[in-house]
Symmetry: D2
Amino acid sequence: MTFGSVFSGLWAAFGLRNSDARSSGNPSSGARARLRDLGIRIGRLPTGPHNAITDVRGVRVGHKTNISGSGKLVVGTGPVRTGVTVILPSSGNVYKEKLPVGAFILNGNGELTGLVNLLNGGLLETPIFLTGTANVGIVYDAALTHLLRENPEIGVTGRVPVPVVGECWDSLGDIQGRHLSEDDVLGAIAGATDGPVEEGAVGGGTGMRSYGFKSGIGTSSRMIPANRGGYTVGVLVNANHGSRHLLRVDGVRVGEELLRYPEDEPEKSKSIIIVAATDAPLLPIQLNRLCKRLALGLAKTGSVSTHGSGDLFLAFSTVPRDEKSDVLWTGENVVSSLWEAASEATEEAILNALTASPTMDGADGSIRYGLPLDRLTEIMKKHNRL
Amino acid sequence: MTFGSVFSGLWAAFGLRNSDARSSGNPSSGARARLRDLGIRIGRLPTGPHNAITDVRGVRVGHKTNISGSGKLVVGTGPVRTGVTVILPSSGNVYKEKLPVGAFILNGNGELTGLVNLLNGGLLETPIFLTGTANVGIVYDAALTHLLRENPEIGVTGRVPVPVVGECWDSLGDIQGRHLSEDDVLGAIAGATDGPVEEGAVGGGTGMRSYGFKSGIGTSSRMIPANRGGYTVGVLVNANHGSRHLLRVDGVRVGEELLRYPEDEPEKSKSIIIVAATDAPLLPIQLNRLCKRLALGLAKTGSVSTHGSGDLFLAFSTVPRDEKSDVLWTGENVVSSLWEAASEATEEAILNALTASPTMDGADGSIRYGLPLDRLTEIMKKHNRL
Amino acid sequence: MTFGSVFSGLWAAFGLRNSDARSSGNPSSGARARLRDLGIRIGRLPTGPHNAITDVRGVRVGHKTNISGSGKLVVGTGPVRTGVTVILPSSGNVYKEKLPVGAFILNGNGELTGLVNLLNGGLLETPIFLTGTANVGIVYDAALTHLLRENPEIGVTGRVPVPVVGECWDSLGDIQGRHLSEDDVLGAIAGATDGPVEEGAVGGGTGMRSYGFKSGIGTSSRMIPANRGGYTVGVLVNANHGSRHLLRVDGVRVGEELLRYPEDEPEKSKSIIIVAATDAPLLPIQLNRLCKRLALGLAKTGSVSTHGSGDLFLAFSTVPRDEKSDVLWTGENVVSSLWEAASEATEEAILNALTASPTMDGADGSIRYGLPLDRLTEIMKKHNRL
Amino acid sequence: MTFGSVFSGLWAAFGLRNSDARSSGNPSSGARARLRDLGIRIGRLPTGPHNAITDVRGVRVGHKTNISGSGKLVVGTGPVRTGVTVILPSSGNVYKEKLPVGAFILNGNGELTGLVNLLNGGLLETPIFLTGTANVGIVYDAALTHLLRENPEIGVTGRVPVPVVGECWDSLGDIQGRHLSEDDVLGAIAGATDGPVEEGAVGGGTGMRSYGFKSGIGTSSRMIPANRGGYTVGVLVNANHGSRHLLRVDGVRVGEELLRYPEDEPEKSKSIIIVAATDAPLLPIQLNRLCKRLALGLAKTGSVSTHGSGDLFLAFSTVPRDEKSDVLWTGENVVSSLWEAASEATEEAILNALTASPTMDGADGSIRYGLPLDRLTEIMKKHNRL
């Protein structure tokens, strides 16, 4: 009996429709849809060409997704539902050509290694990694291996960098088994590309869950008007937060209308990591402030940032810092437009994570349901949004 | 020709309806409506009896509203559109019986005196004052007069406290004239009461403006379930922030549908001060975190917290601190429910400030329009919310 | 009987020497000595020409000192022992040509208005005022008067600035009387000069007390090597902190050796405000870090920053910010040298406040003793430092 | 030829005395002396019985020291000069019985994983690990292994904790080789004991360097008077910071008097991690403030906290938090005494790290010299301190 047939029976039991019933426990299953494919648009600013963080020139994203096994949890064996996502912040060597960076902690019940260093010096010097909670040590160490290969002077004549690794609790599989290797991390880096970004249950988002639905990686971007600089803000999230009743889609209380839709283990979803990139020449103090607007975009999807959440946000500018070059103070109107772009892109990136992520099974027969897209469409129509 | 007749002509010119056309440049005009009077409810938690910050036992609110003159701006003369609002945090002497307090700075382009002291020691020891930007020094000094009268040991054997005074730019009248006296401040304190709180263009909110509409003071409260402690969270805002296109009412993009409704001086509204009270025995570290949820409630009304905004938030617990007594660590589930209550109450308090505030004229013939309630009702119906 | 004769008797009673016995309750009395006049040098970096914050080009300092009356405390009458000191950060109009600024809160039991604004935007836009705790409202309001006169667009077309006013508890006189007027504040501004800075019991430092001795204003400066930019760091303190036993002079435990020297009211001295200026083109994030080094300099004089202390620090760069111009990221070696300069100048500025301040009488016959300079010299000799 | 004979030649070349010439590149060599063994006492408060962090009841410390090889650096082979130190904060299971915690970042150019989590919730839930920069990932992962063994519910029904791992750049050996295993970390935990703590070039301190001398782990403690609660503050440092000319021993400028004493690679020592423990029932907000006093103690040894330093401080209370029990607000006088204790213990712990650490050779024939104890004694005598 295949996963597909198992789920078909479950769908019938819950009165679900087939369109909701894809399993990506099967690694061949891809993302389902982006929010805009459904006709829903967030905000008023235009997106970049890919509506993704990679619309900021030089930014690349790579995933390594580890899915295997099913059924009963056997620690060290599986089922495996984990992975890692990497954001390469520039086309160059970021250790050598560091970038201005800022951060904000909305709720700190989680980990984003390197935050102390980023906030102190205002410079990003490593790629950014997103993974499951139990993999942080592995990814940190693998990231150092990567940095040593690219910069053999590290630890000899050069300072040892602090890799940036953010985690959410990917509670769908065998967490304790830590099913991620150094090669997985190096593979994600090697495979990073610009262009469209795969969303949903991939990479670091493989085991995630938001607002009571299967979730994971989502991305979006916005461009501000040419007379304010024409800059781009791109956002990528690993979304694992929120109770179902809170979910708002473009302001519509979708969560409340889906309270009786089946749901697993509400207490196990908690955190969201949000990363923003921009080609605006912002200073660290301004990037810290931009990160607070990521929280405002998150709030518009309904979040109240619960006690146990690690809601950690980071933003960088791709305008490199050079001791001999200069950095502009960007004007006030430009800044406010960037804030609006950051809020809009975050709101949409989170919803993209939900619409992209199909239903997935996990350990001990648990099922994490994807947001039902046809129900979503119905609700939005009822509220005159479609 | 009376104000009324002037406005009637203006309404006709803009195609406005009479129901929108109340002037509170006339001090006899009161608040118009609360959001719930219109049938709009935010969130799922029940309100306290007054749906106000005064639902937290012991909390009292007083206003002094200074409105006089009209027409051309004459510095030092008028027109006068200013005032002060005071929140007395307990029925006792807060200098002697200090209360746990926390704060959060969403955007710091403003002032809330005492913040440094509150964040350091975690104790509130003075009333909280809300006023126009140019009045801060006057209110600070008057607050000290009040504290000295109640506590003659101050400066002799007792430490001199730092009064808490928050400001927003009440740009409707003669700012430079600073039309507020020590007696006004002492009068606001003397007149503070529990029970219902007057909202809109009163006290510190007299000259305010939010999302392109006349605004001012708003309040709301929430109660969490008995099995999580049955605590109350009350919120009071002085709202002077946001561009019109951003306004969301219960998630509906009301601002976008009212872009052509008349509006004055968009660049002059900036800040919001939010104060929360609770009878939950929270520690300062937890009250800091509660304040971040005030930002999440603000975001749900549409804000992106623009560059020039002073978005400063403060929360206190009415469970007094006593060196000899004890303070509980409140459990995690309780805390998350309080976060939800704080977000809901903030969202509604801001909308109450808008629905309460009538159109008001200002210096040099400017007119600040109240949110048109009949148009609001129509829009909410169109989106199937009423 | 004159003050002088009163004190002569007291000195005899305590076995003190005449050289310690100057009273500056008499306003004609000036500073006694600078630390270097005694042959004591702090650190290894050279000072600027005046060994003062005014060595940073464009910085000016003004004092208004209010001393009158003696004997029994009569609230509203005296004795008066208060004042205000102003630092004008540039020779231009700082509201129009704002300067990069940073801050650090070592212990926040005090007030420095505007801190929230400075930390948010990283720009200083008003002079910096130092005064007694009870005068903050008066000085804040007077500062606004000054700003309005220089910038009539404020509150009409321009944003209302937040003046920067730092306080310490000048407990020697009639605090409650708030013996400072708007004219006093405007006079301090009008009288501000570059060149040598008067130290000790003047201006905002009139009623202060540090390490159990009469204290007040102190200043110092350092220059870093030409191959690291040749920049200057200037520091000015209003010192009102510390218990006597903690005092260290250039590392020598002078306080412990003067424990039996007479002392008034140890519990009433608490806070220190430290302001640093530099002509290095630092960013706000770097100025925040510079401010932490002011704490390290403070520590070297012995401080443990007690519970009730308001130890609030601020640093600005005189390289103006212009949206169209550029700001350098200053290199790492330069930064570390600036940190050392900041620590050294702070340590010396605090000691200058002590050596400058003569014994002064206060309300109800209290006497605040100046650090006995001949005893200091003896102790330093004993430890082979002179 | 043994290490000893190699060094004897070097000593002769530098005109050094034999008493300075112990090598702990040979793992059998132990600590040399504690500061008090030399007759030097810091401050006025009494120490606990062991003058160590373990004087706080329940606190245990374990080291694993990896030293092997010498001569030319071969990446992956050696020489090996690294290790790990663990602080177990209570005699119980800290994941189950969490402890109040606070932190402070003096300069953030480093890493202390978990800081975000500690600052947010105010609760410590894992042991604290100190290691070399390149080992952070390995130690983090091994710490999770330890926690999983003790708490099998983690990741299944229980939240995955964030281990606390602090690093300094142990630049003496083959950094890139990361010569530390999971077993090493588990061994350090298994071997942790209360009682006296081994200091100097052991555990996480093996490769460290401070003020131009060989350094590493140091510890000290202070007890405050019974009438202020009789509490103990214990401090443990991993010291790897500071330029030689800055070193002050009990205020005496020892560094300046040893400028010509031989020194290796001054640019490679940077950071200091300081951990404090207390049995005073402090709240997180107070523990944050205590951590700032660790910076004041550090400053008294001369530090200016250079640009590249990771000066990260953490403090915990051993009074467990229990949702059902209570936590006292500790009174103000108690707090100030604890601040003084924290400053004193930090100053002495750093100096203990220096006096304990013998000269050690490193990669490529480098030699890191121990602080010459006989020269130290001479200098202190010259300044009338001995």
